[in-house]
């Protein structure tokens, strides 16, 4: 492995290496978007722990690796990745090291799937330009976010899902991102447009074929029109040597409902920014997360729920189970803007430390600029509740069994909110394996 110490601009330049070779798009606006992003990459610096937003997450190890642009198109076959497939998902887009793999993907039959569009972005770009242009790069701001800027600078392909007006997709759509190359930098991009009255479930799933060091820098944009419902399940099970950085921006229309369950199991260092803008009245979101980490892993989740309009509802529950010498970070900001009256928001951050070396930094944060609102948040850090352990022991369970049961239950509460049964079972199994002692 070639290791070179680079910092600041030069490091970003090294990450940008592959960019100049991107073929220019026939869409002028897309070329402009990429050019703007390249400018921002040039102007921004890699964040350090002196930046409030990165106070607990030191990404300097990332700067110690040199990354190459992704080599040639993948020759993976179904047999290589089949084990990651979800039986419920009729449509699936697979990306290998960031590149679309048509041989592994299944696109919907437009005639039978009520007009649902699930395609790779570059193929669909010209046919759906009018639908895409108002959204792509418009929700995930990159002015002050170097990683979003970097992703946008590389924007060439990605996953596109359009749920047309009043379309109700019965089955989930599976977006599978497979990492296969060490020291590769990939920039996955997803755009989900849920038109008014539509309903859809999307699974965004990051997996690795082997334990390599690589970097994933993903951006996902989700736009919900009036009365749309999106169920977004995100699973990050990258290699425990990998760096996973992701920005997800969600914008909601009137009376729309966004539900998100995100689970972080993998990566050496992961950082997930989820920004949900309740941009119209009566919008509702439920945002749940679980980080289950051990060894030297660091999982950092930053969420912002931005109540911009009246009568919004938000519910958030974030949990971390931290073993080994791992480090969990949570920063959950609830913002209630001046005219967002009658906002109803609640948030909880609960953390379980399983090892003396494990650590957690949590900051549930409320910023309220309207008076007629109901907001509450809470945070706890600690071990299992002794009374609960005692209760189970008094019913004849051994100490170990009681603790295992309670630890599992702590994590399973979030997993239970995943609506795709096969994925839920797999994740339950993962929680079980990681939390059980004997």
């Amino acid at each position: 492995m070639s290791v070179s110490m680079v910092t600041g601009g030069s490091y970003l330049e090294s990450l940008l290496q592959g960019q100049p070779q991107l073929p220019s798009s026939p869409s002028a606006w897309l070329n402009q978007l990429r050019a703007d992003a390249v400018d921002r990459v040039g102007a921004l610096k890699v964040p350090t722990t002196r930046d409030e937003e990165w106070r607990f997450t030191d990404i300097s190890p990332l700067a110690k690796l040199s990354f190459q642009p992704v080599r040639a198109v993948s020759s993976l076959q179904t047999a290589d990745v089949e084990r990651f497939y979800l039986e419920e998902a009729a449509t699936r887009l697979v990306f290998v090291d960031g590149a679309y793999a048509p041989q592994l993907s299944t696109q919907p039959d437009e005639a039978t799937d009520s007009g649902l569009i699930v395609s790779n972005l570059s193929t669909a770009l010209s046919a759906h330009a009018t639908a895409i242009e108002p959204h792509l790069g418009r929700h995930a701001g990159f002015r002050d976010n170097v990683f979003a800027a970097l992703n946008t600078a590389f924007l060439q392909d990605g996953a596109l899902i359009i749920a047309p007006r009043n379309a109700v997709a019965e089955k989930p759509v599976h977006l599978l991102f497979v990492a296969t190359q060490r020291e590769a930098a990939s920039h996955p991009r997803c755009l989900l447009i849920a038109e008014s009255g539509s309903a859809i479930t999307v699974v965004e799933d990051y997996v690795a074929l082997q334990e390599d060091a690589y970097v994933t820098n993903a951006v996902t944009e989700i736009a919900l029109a009036d009365n749309a419902q999106v169920n977004h399940i995100r699973v990050q099970r990258d290699s425990t040597e990998a760096f996973h950085i992701a920005n997800c921006a969600v914008s909601t229309g009137r009376a729309s409902r966004y539900r998100s369950v995100s689970v972080a199991l993998g990566a050496r260092i992961s950082r997930y920014n989820l920004n949900t803008l309740l941009a119209a009245e009566e919008a509702e979101c439920a945002i749940d997360g679980l980080a289950l980490i051990t060894g030297r892993q660091l999982a950092d989740t930053h969420t912002c729920i931005d109540h911009a309009k009246p009568h919004g509802i938000s519910r958030q529950s974030h949990k971390c189970i931290v073993d080994g010498a791992a480090h969990a970070v949570f920063n959950g900001k609830i913002l209630v803007r001046p005219n967002a009256q009658r906002t109803d928001s609640s948030q909880s951050s609960r953390n379980l430390l399983l090892n003396a070396k494990a650590r957690v930094d949590t900051k549930p944060q409320l910023e309220i600029f309207a008076d007629d609102v109901k907001c509450a948040h809470g945070a706890t850090v600690g071990q299992l509740d002794n009374d609960e352990v005692f209760y189970l022991k008094s019913r004849g369970l051994s100490e170990i069994t009681a603790r295992n049961l309670l630890t599992y239950a702590f994590g399973a509460e979030i997993i239970d909110r995943i609506s795709v049964a096969s994925l839920k079972h797999r994740l339950e199994q993962a929680v079980l394996e990681q939390t059980q002692r004997n």
Binding site: E52, P338, N339, Q341, N351, L353, L354, N355, A356, A358, R359, V360, D361, T362, K363, P364, Q365, L366, E367, I368, F369, A370, D371, D372, V373, K374, C375, A376, H377, G378, A379, T380, V381, G382, Q383
Partner: protein, 478 residues
Amino acid sequence: MSAVLQNLVNQPYKHGFVTEIESDVAPRGLSEDTIRLISAKKNEPGWLLEFRLKAYQQWLKMEEPKWPNVKYPKIDFQAISYYSAPKPKQKLSSMDEVDPELLRTFEKLGVPMHERAALAGVAVDVIFDSVSVATTYKQKLAEVGITFCSISEAVQMHPDLVRQYLGTVVPVGDNYYAALNSAVFTDGTFCFIPKGVKCPMDLSTYFRINTEESGQFERTLIIAEDGASVSYLEGCTAPKFDTNQLHAAVVELIALDNADIKYSTVQNWYAGDENGLGGIYNFVTKRGLAKGINSRISWTQVETGSAITWKYPSCVLQGENSVGEFYSVAVTNNYQQADTGTKMIHIGKNTRSTIVSKGISAGHSNNSYRGLVRIAPTATGARNYSQCDSMLIGDKCSASTFPYIQVRNQGAKVEHEASTSKIGEDQLFYFAQRGIDSEEAVSMIINGFCKDVFQQLPMEFAVEATKLLGFKLEGSVG
């Protein structure tokens, strides 16, 4: 004087007058020479001058903190006078010798310090601009071995004690304003409770900024030896000026084994007018070191004044089983900004801390709670409980909560809860239906909201705080 009386009657801020006392004011500006001047005027020993100069050198290299949720124009530190003292009566031995004008001020405040001091048996130290003008009950306290005097006097009379503890809890380079204070502090209170002594009365300091161009940089040092205990009260006011005055105090508390220090503040510095003009910048560093086993440090504050408040009374819980407490009510109205909270640093085993913070925002004000709970790897069995509630009155103000929770020990338990509420139409209607008008209803609801904190205040302060709040929020509802 009739103009002053006129002021007292007409002005919403009751303490906004200037007392006409001739002052000895140092020229504006800050340099090593200024520091040498202060040190010379106070006839200080060489080590203290060194302490000041070291702080000054550090301060020069530091930058003003940017992270608080407050906005203000850049302060010109060269436009401030760093020393101001009333010329006559510098050496007073009792409250009787204090200028009657000043005593009358206390009466008008509803805090008749003179009489109340006698009645309630509260010992009072009065700091007027830069110097201590009077300390009461000194003799009586000395009989039980307690030293209670101005810090200038302590430097002369008990130099070893001051030298041993000064700057040990808040190091000279701790933060920008603490460094500034360490360089230029002029006076403050010193209190030493020896081993096993329970202080027989509440000790109190009354701070007043009087001069327009002067800053106030007082320094308080309280030491409670093994098994000692003390309850200390602090009150603050300032006249109304269209300009902003800087108040950058440092308070250090040290509690040894089984010692107990309770520190209560009612802060009512001038907050500026209804358009945000004028008012005090209150940038204060307060920290207590619970050094000994089973020691306890408790902060209670009612913050109603100041244009900007930037203040985090903190506890470093070093001794095993030591306890830290923070009870706070912060009220902001008009264009006030407050960024206040606490830090609870758990180092010792089985240390416990409690945080109760109540923020009330009205007008165009901005009220933030910022708190840190840190559990060090050594703090096995540590416990923290925090509760931070906000109440908003009107839709032009804001309330924010920034709790930082950092846990490095598996065997600790930290709980944080926060909520917001408002004074609702339905509540006011319920009161009205029982014949209670909205002003009275608001006052009751607010006092109910703050009850958990007021209960921690000594009786006479609680009464004062209640009055202050009602007055503060007059006309902000309905």
